[in-house]
């Protein structure tokens, strides 16, 4: 596998995603096709990551964890970026679509972020000798995840759909402040966590497998957000159809 192959697959996945958004006719099957592709890529990621890729220079085989850990965290950052984009869009023009999409992106982002942090902990044990260290990158990531858990909690505690959408949009913008802190924490502070790599400093087969893992997780990110969006829209519709919880005071009198 060359580093170009994952980019070709990425182009196909992005085309399917854009088709899903722009062409209603492809929506019934686009997510299924991307999901099936993701399943095949996940199985092949086991082969590429565990067998095909060479061992890392210092971490040796433990470095193979990075092919699943890094894509998970990337997908979390991508989902949170979609969340804040939808939040800003909602505040500019109120729409239940952007509100539902923001909710689904936040939940899927928390899922990918939590799994990514757990994988990082598994990697840290043989590499650093500890499961967890109060390092700037780890602290900022934890704060970011807690902020989005708080965002989801705020949504579940607010009954009025319009108020929930407005408040959570503001909370989403506030939560997003943590993202650049997470990204640059390894450069701003003396961190045990290594700084970001780039293809010029990483062996080509490793770049290829890392990209393969990222595209695999992108497939699942897309499918998860599509299905979670349907749930959010269904709940919105049900909330609109419900009668008010209690009659206005004037009517009671």
């Amino acid at each position: 596998m060359t580093p170009i192959l994952p980019l070709v697959v990425l182009a196909l996945v992005v085309a399917a995603m854009l088709g899903h958004v722009a062409v209603p006719a492809v929506r019934p099957w686009a997510w299924k096709a991307v999901g099936a592709l993701g399943a095949v890529m996940l199985v092949s990621l086991w082969y590429f990551g565990l067998y095909w890729a060479p061992p890392e220079q210092f971490m040796s085989d433990v470095g193979r964890i990075l092919y699943v850990h890094v894509p998970h965290v990337w997908m979390a950052l991508l989902a949170f970026t979609l969340n804040v984009g939808c939040a800003v869009a909602y505040l500019m023009k109120k729409s239940w679509v952007t509100d539902a999409l923001a909710e689904s992106a936040a939940e899927v982002g928390v899922y990918f972020g939590a799994v990514g942090v757990m994988m990082g902990s598994i990697w840290a044990r043989p590499t650093w000798g500890v499961w967890w260290d109060w390092d700037p990158r780890l602290i900022s990531t934890t704060v970011m995840l807690l902020a989005y858990v708080g965002y989801l909690a705020l949504r579940s505690f607010t009954e009025d759909p319009e108020r929930r959408a407005t408040w959570s949009a503001a909370a989403a913008i506030l939560s997003y402040v943590s993202l650049p802190i997470v990204w640059f924490s390894v450069r701003w502070w003396n961190s045990l966590h290594q700084v970001q790599s780039n293809p010029s400093t990483v062996d080509k087969p490793m770049v290829a497998v890392l990209r393969w893992g990222a595209v695999t997780m992108l497939c699942f990110l897309f499918v998860f957000i599509v299905k979670r969006y349907e749930i959010a829209r269904s709940r919105q519709t049900a909330a609109m159809e419900l009668p008010p919880l209690e009659a206005p005071r004037a009517e009671v009198a």
Binding site: W46, V68, K227
Partner: protein, 95 residues
């Protein structure tokens, strides 16, 4: 009687002479020669609590159980979250 007395005196004088004899001079302490320079011995690598070792070049050996755990967690997470979305899927209305 005289010979016996002479023998006794002879023995006594010999004994006294032995006691009075100065102790033999001690051999001079050996001059300590500087030890030849020892061959440099590499310090043993720190033992990881779970048996993972770093070789002399600082390369981690082993740790496959962590690798499998991470890949297993990723796959199980995808399956579990997909299952949770399936369980929460919107019910189709009868109408």
């Amino acid at each position: 009687m005289k010979p016996a007395l002479a023998v006794a005196l002879l023995l006594a004088s010999a004994a006294l002479a032995d006691i009075a004899r100065p102790p033999p001079a001690e051999a001079p302490p050996p001059v300590e020669q500087p030890a030849p320079p020892a061959e440099p011995v590499a310090a043993p690598a720190a033992k990881h609590p779970e048996g993972i070792e770093k070789g002399s070049a600082g390369v981690i050996q082993g740790g496959w159980e962590y690798v499998y755990a991470a890949y297993g967690l990723g796959t199980a997470g995808v399956l579990a979250y997909a299952a949770s979305l399936f369980v929460r899927r919107p019910k189709k209305s009868a109408a």
